[in-house]
Point group: C2
């Protein structure tokens, strides 16, 4: 039941003037008779006139819309990043289109195409765990549309990026476990394809090395970030002849899944086995015992991503050199590593 929407031509006709004048009046161009402008504005209001952004975008070749694509937004992390980015972007007059790839490479490619077709002015993205080929993002670059990666970043692309110091966060986490007397520290790591996963693994390794603890291959398990697998691997670790006395996981949801498994087995946390997660999701403060975790400045990741994007957007002429911002993490100690905390 589409009906006719009033255009500047309607207004022009009714007022017996040209549409150019109407356009000027509406956009606040200085060279318009005050009285004429007044009449235009009134009639526009009365006719419920609304600018057609589509036409303007077609004309100016910019939509003032930014695409944000994340692998999922059920967990706390990504929504919070999006909100941080949105704050900054809205301030600057940009609209935001949010997509989630559902951790599927195919969906990611399809979304990228859709965003390209709708002519977003820029893209902020954290890719799926499956993504190996980044051509669907390179298309944006080739078109002169700035791209910013965060959290999961493509190392081979020369674009701006926002990450946290994953290495250091992991190092702190493991050092903390060692300092509380743990020696057989397991690590549920993320997929090797993700740089942040690799960095955390390196932090884990170096912390062990610093304290002269030999790395036990059987205690390091890379997995695909699904909770079902986490469950399986935690049980596997606990069933080892020499089970670990501590567990450092790639993220909080995994840690909390582990926490459930361990509690159900009747083991004591942290005495029998201590746990450290990564992210400081609010839920980590709610479980029992509270989860020790490496806090990331989540909102700030979004804000910085937006800033870096707008930096690129600022001067279209001479693409600014890409920048990488690395934010610091902070260890939050709770009951899963220190009794009574």
């Amino acid at each position: 039941m589409q009906q006719h929407l009033t255009t500047i031509i309607d207004i022009a006709r009714q007022l017996g003037i040209s549409k150019s004048t109407v356009s000027r009046a509406l956009t606040g161009h200085p060279n318009v008779n005050t009285k004429t402008r007044q009449r235009v504005l009134e009639l526009a209001e009365q006719l419920d006139y609304q600018r057609n952004q589509l036409a303007i975008s077609l004309l100016t070749n910019q939509t003032r819309t930014i695409g944000i694509m994340v692998p999922e937004f059920i967990s706390f992390f990504f929504p919070k990043v999006i909100i941080g980015a949105q704050e900054v972007l809205a301030e600057a007059g940009y609209n935001v289109v949010i997509c989630h790839s559902n951790e599927s490479y195919e969906t990611e490619v399809a979304n990228a195409k859709a965003l390209l077709a709708s002519r977003v002015d820029g893209l902020i993205v954290s890719h799926t765990k499956e993504t190996r080929n980044f051509d669907h993002f390179r298309v944006f670059q080739r078109r002169g549309i700035p791209v910013v990666f965060f959290n999961r970043v493509c190392e081979d692309m020369n674009v701006s990026k926002v990450t946290v110091n994953d290495y250091d966060g992991a190092f702190q986490a493991v050092e903390h476990l060692i300092q509380t007397g743990k020696r057989r520290i397991a690590h549920l790591a993320g997929p090797d394809s993700l740089p942040n996963s690799r960095n955390r693994l390196n932090g884990y390794r170096d912390a062990l090395r610093k304290y002269g603890i030999d790395e036990e291959p059987e205690l390091i398990i890379s997995y695909d970030l699904t909770l079902e697998k986490a469950n399986i691997y935690v049980n596997h670790l606990l069933n080892l002849p020499q089970p670990p006395d501590a567990l450092f996981t790639i993220n909080d949801p995994t840690a909390i899944e582990a926490l459930q498994v361990i509690k159900n087995r009747g083991l004591r946390i942290p005495d029998d086995i201590a746990i450290v997660g990564f992210s400081n999701d609010p839920i980590s403060a709610l479980v029992e015992p509270g989860l020790t975790t490496v806090a990331q400045p989540i909102s700030e990741i979004g804000q910085q991503s937006a800033h870096l994007l707008m930096e690129q957007l600022a001067d279209k002429e001479q693409m600014k050199p890409a920048r990488t911002v690395v934010l610091e993490t902070q260890l939050i100690v709770r009951g899963s590593t220190v009794q009574g905390k």
Copy 2:
């Protein structure tokens, strides 16, 4: 650093044919020589041609984009609804633009304007707790753009809606509390302005009445859904001369906040005080004791919303009559009401 994007004219020129033919070849029009089509398709691929959706939308007066606006998407509920809706919409070839109003009426109005300007074909929305005036949504109706409300619905607008049976869910929750021997059952209710909040309150009341329990005004507190306030009111309730022996809250985050407060005070759950929430957020299974709660079919709310919207979208000519879908809830019993569950 915008550069020239290849258009159908570029392709036409290079092939020495007219842009009409290129257009036809690209859109799969039957009346095109197979060979010509082949050449067009090849060159398009080679030139990295991408249709300009903007131009098409301007021409056809439809964007195949649906706006979804929610008050927030940090908690589990709204993201999950969005994903449900998106599944159905994507299947039908629609893109989705997600907005969140951050529980602010002003932001909601601004977002509505932006969605209108970007010419979405339809709108799925759950409004803020502040919203009393719905004119910014009525504009869509007036323009012939279908609107579907879910969860928080405007009772005065004649549009399709998706809700759950809030009354019944609340009734079951309170009946369950009574059947476990509770008598002084408090209710942390949502704002009066929200119909679902009122319906849950009514369910609470009628359950009490059915069992001949007098309603105690001091045990019913409406509040603004912020966790700080929840904290204050829970403490207030516990400080009453005769504190409640059970608490039914408007949603799960509130119930979990209450659970923390109660545990910190050293009270036993459920013996001293039992708790029931509403929604069955995953977190309710993770806290200790597990939270008894009223489960909503969250994904289905999104899916149904999308279906109702597409029903309206289907025949533009004669607006179909609006429909309201009410989905059923289910009580999930956990340790916060039954010891050892």
